[in-house]
Amino acid sequence: MIITALPILIPFVLIVIMIISRSLVFSKITGIIGSLGLLILSVIIFYKIDKQGFLVLNMAGWKSPYGITLVVDFLSGLMLTISSIIVLAISIYAYKSLSLEKGVTKFYVFFFSLIMGVNGAFITGDVFNLYVWFEVMLISSFVLITFGKSKEQLEGGIKYLALNLLGSLFFLAGLGLLYGKTGTLNMAHLADILRNDNQVILMNTSAILFFIAFGIKAAVFPLFFWLPASYHTANITISSLFAGLLTKVGVYAFIRFFTLFFVHDQAFWHQFLLIIAGFTMVIGGMSASIHYDTRKILSFHIISQIGYMIMGLGIYTPLAIAGAIFFTIHNMIAKTNTFIVAGLIYKLKGSFYLKDVGGIIKQNPMLAILFIIPAFALAGVPPISGFFAKFILIKAGIDDGHFVIVILAVLTALLTLYSMIKIWNEAFLKKQPDNEFSGQNTVLSFVDMLPSIILGIMSILMGIFAFKVFDFTMQAADQLIEGTGYINNILNK
């Protein structure tokens, strides 16, 4: 069905419009309308998934496993919907925050090509096609990072590009080995072969190459260096977009690959993933606590939170996978929101450094509320989304007897809370120190705060309707672990 391809086609058409567009206002409004369209589309797709389980499209009529297949299952549907919400919030945010820079119409060209890459990665059912979407994402995100053309951004951008290209290289190598061994790159066909084959010992070579590739994308423990080196250099609008989407595509690929077809040698892989998850959490959380640049604190927190998602994958019970998916979608929203609030603090005060700013709670109480929501969500304070995400993961860990990782997860939650309280104390509670930033008197309009309000409401709703969201993530986890539905629907068995 054509609707399956629309999450790729709509951004593509928008790219063409943005290339032709000469007017800044036109681009901005088209961007918002287009994002709204994408959101409506993904809700429709999700509704269809809820009814029938899978949406499959064989591109150009070539039947699976010969052609490129687009598949939307519960996991893809959830990721599509949440990423569309983020895209909408960012396009509203960009309306105000990108007003004066030159060449801003070009921003939208790469903005939507990034969205096209992200959506493509979520819905493709073919490993090589996934590689192509990763490259689309990489190229557009590199352009976006270096958008302001400053020296700092170029440095960050080149670090980002170099390490991610290395990741792509590993991806390509793993892909080649996989194709050599199985003769197919269609995910359903791969699952069919690898789940029913006992001689899968050779698969570890491919699996570890994929682990490195996705590990670099998702910024897990030994491979995360590019993230704190580059995210804080970009324009804050772009950082917020990246914080919500980029690493999560890596996590998505992890979940997809290590539940659907790399299911061999489970004793080793799950242990390995848990160790990686533990290190990622703790090191991310601890690194965040020593920084005083809001963007750096939040960047390290992205890493720390990735650990929780990998933890769910490492425990590998349906509950744990559901927890990992819940955590991913909650984190996408809350993380983007904290970056947006950091941008608003910058707009209000003119600095990202916590030492320079203060007294926001008196100056703009609304902003304080907007910060509290995602901060509590990230730290896991009930009744906001993060509490339930962490609760599910920790419960799954205790059920399965993984006490070390559970203790680490709880400690990291405290570290997160500590960092959030630090931002709160420094930026909001403490008195404005006497410096060049004290005279700033910018007034934030409603449109400025609207994206943060949207995301904050989403976080709260995900907390209040946690059982409903949990129901969806549980269905996604069941679909992934069971696998036969995926295989049968795509290969038409």
């Binding site: 063409v16 290339i19 499209l57 591109m59 150009a60």
Partner: protein, 138 residues
């Protein structure tokens, strides 16, 4: 660069390269070639000219800007999806139109050709953009 041999060669090679690009584009559906290679060859004709003479002059003489090439190419790509959607086929499935031409015989025109032309124009645009950025004309 001011090489008289290069300059004279560039004048003659330009037409040849364009011709060759179009051949590569048209045979691409079933044989080696296609929009990407054709586009590179076509862009090369201009770039070669630019190296032999002056990139700035070439830039001024181009009637269509590189971004317009890209926009036009991408639009054609989008357009090539439309027939398959209208005919209720799977997305991007080829739709062919058979045209009888006297003497020459049957000509098959299809959406894959339209797609290839789109790629052809996009590649030309992107290559121009690279060239003008690297030679710092723009």
């Amino acid at each position: 660069m001011n090489s008289i041999i290069l300059q004279i060669a560039a004048r003659h090679i330009k037409a040849l390269l364009v011709l060759f690009a179009i051949i590569a584009l048209l045979r691409g559906h079933n044989y080696p070639g296609g929009g990407f290679i054709g586009g590179l060859l076509a862009a090369l004709s201009v770039i070669y000219y630019g190296f032999a003479f002056n990139a700035k002059q070439v830039r001024d003489k181009l009637k269509i800007s590189p971004t317009t090439y890209i926009a036009l190419g991408l639009s054609l790509v989008v357009l090539s999806f439309v027939p398959s959607i209208l005919n209720q086929l799977e997305l991007m499935q080829g739709v062919w139109l058979k045209v009888q031409i006297p003497i020459l015989g049957e000509l098959k025109l299809g959406t894959p050709l339209l797609f290839d032309i789109g790629v052809f124009l996009t590649v030309i645009g992107v290559t121009f953009l690279f060239f003008f950025s690297l030679t710092k004309v723009e």
